[in-house]
Symmetry: C2
Subunit: 232 residues, 2 copies
């Protein structure tokens, strides 16, 4: 009841994809703010009004691109994690594989990266549909640490006194299997990973860091240390 579809349905899927692809091209060429339905339609050889059969507004198209981007980087992180797990790599190696995959995706898709990890688009508020996809990378990082913890391989500094409540709340929300000591380091590392990547993608390392692969590997290793992974 799925593979065989009418011409209409198949066309709809293909054209929706074509619109998103062309929109991504324009994203790469001009940035999110300049993304325009008319330009997309023009490039596709359609009347601009025709796009309204596929997306009810420009914002809805943007949302679709955002969801796609989160899913794309999330899938890259998950694939790297799966592969490292499959070959039973040490926990540090898994962490490095995942972070390297996220960085690689960001460098390969800088404008989609900017769309989801750069400045929020003015006047646009992310709808609920983005919440799930947005969490995927973070969940992979958590999974790496949870695996290490299950193997009794996590070493973390003790909690500061006034952090205990917040740490317990956070750990309950995001990773109930972990001890509360892991919460702050993990969330911090998550945001700091994107600090490293954003500075590289957005050009702040220009004339500062030359050998970016080596630098990133080293910084990501230090990050692994802060979340208590062994061998870091």
């Amino acid at each position: 009841m799925s593979t065989v579809r009418g011409a209409r349905e198949r066309a709809r899927i293909e054209i929706t994809a074509a619109i998103k692809d062309e929109a991504k091209k324009q994203l790469a060429a001009e940035g999110a703010a300049k993304l325009s339905l008319r330009a997309v339609a023009r490039e596709l050889g359609m009347a601009s009004s025709a796009l309204y059969r596929y997306f009810p507004s420009r914002d809805e198209l943007l949302t679709a691109l955002i969801v796609d981007a989160y899913d794309s980087v999330g899938a890259a992180a998950e694939a790297a994690h799966r592969a490292a797990r499959a070959e039973d790599a040490p926990h540090l190696a898994r962490w490095l594989a995942v972070t390297r995959a996220v960085r690689g995706w960001a460098l390969a898709h800088p404008h989609e990266y900017a769309l989801i990890y750069g400045s929020p688009v003015p006047g646009y508020t992310a709808p609920r549909a983005t919440i799930g996809p947005a969490a995927r990378v973070g969940l992979v990082l958590i999974a790496v640490v949870v695996d290490a913890h299950r193997a009794d391989a996590l070493t973390l500094p003790p909690l500061a006194g006034d952090l205990r409540d917040e740490a317990e709340r956070m750990v309950t929300d995001i990773a109930p299997d972990l001890p509360p000591e892991a919460a702050t380091p993990l969330i911090a590392a998550w945001s700091q990973l994107f600090g490293l990547i954003s500075f590289e993608v957005f050009g702040q390392f220009h004339r500062v860091v030359e050998n970016r692969e080596v630098f990133f590997r080293e910084a990501a290793t230090a990050l692994a240390r802060t979340v208590g992974l062994p061998g870091a």
Copy 2:
């Protein structure tokens, strides 16, 4: 020969400032992409063409705002550093004071923050005039670490073999007084600080971190540890 000026010159300074202030307001309301000369002029009760007496183009106005923003956050960091130094605070306390000042500025000026640390504005490339101001925060972070090093209070892990060349190049460029072991951790911490701040300002901590002050203090302390500051 400076304080006393003609009416023209004084008016020019005042009106230039008024234009930038109004532009910052619109930045806060709509974001950089929507910043328009016409809207600024309208709000100021001038003809839009009049702005061209002050800024030769929209991009030049944007550049002025970018330089102002870098200078503003740089000055905040420097002031915090100066104060901490004046009371002879421990090195860790200085680091925390500086990072807290940067975070405070970012939270108080989220759109100016986005302008300089968010996605690059499409089609706009930062001119040389921004390079100096853009470096100020980084220089303060370096200064904190240099002070600690002069007091023989820096403890850093040894360099990975294949990082030595790059580390020596970086340390020569940015802080010739420091040992090469400090280069990667320092640059990483610099970018990671903005990772922490960006996630908070751009809303990624929504429903994840509640007690943001405490969380930040803890994360910034861990960051100080990675650059070798004592007492962290």
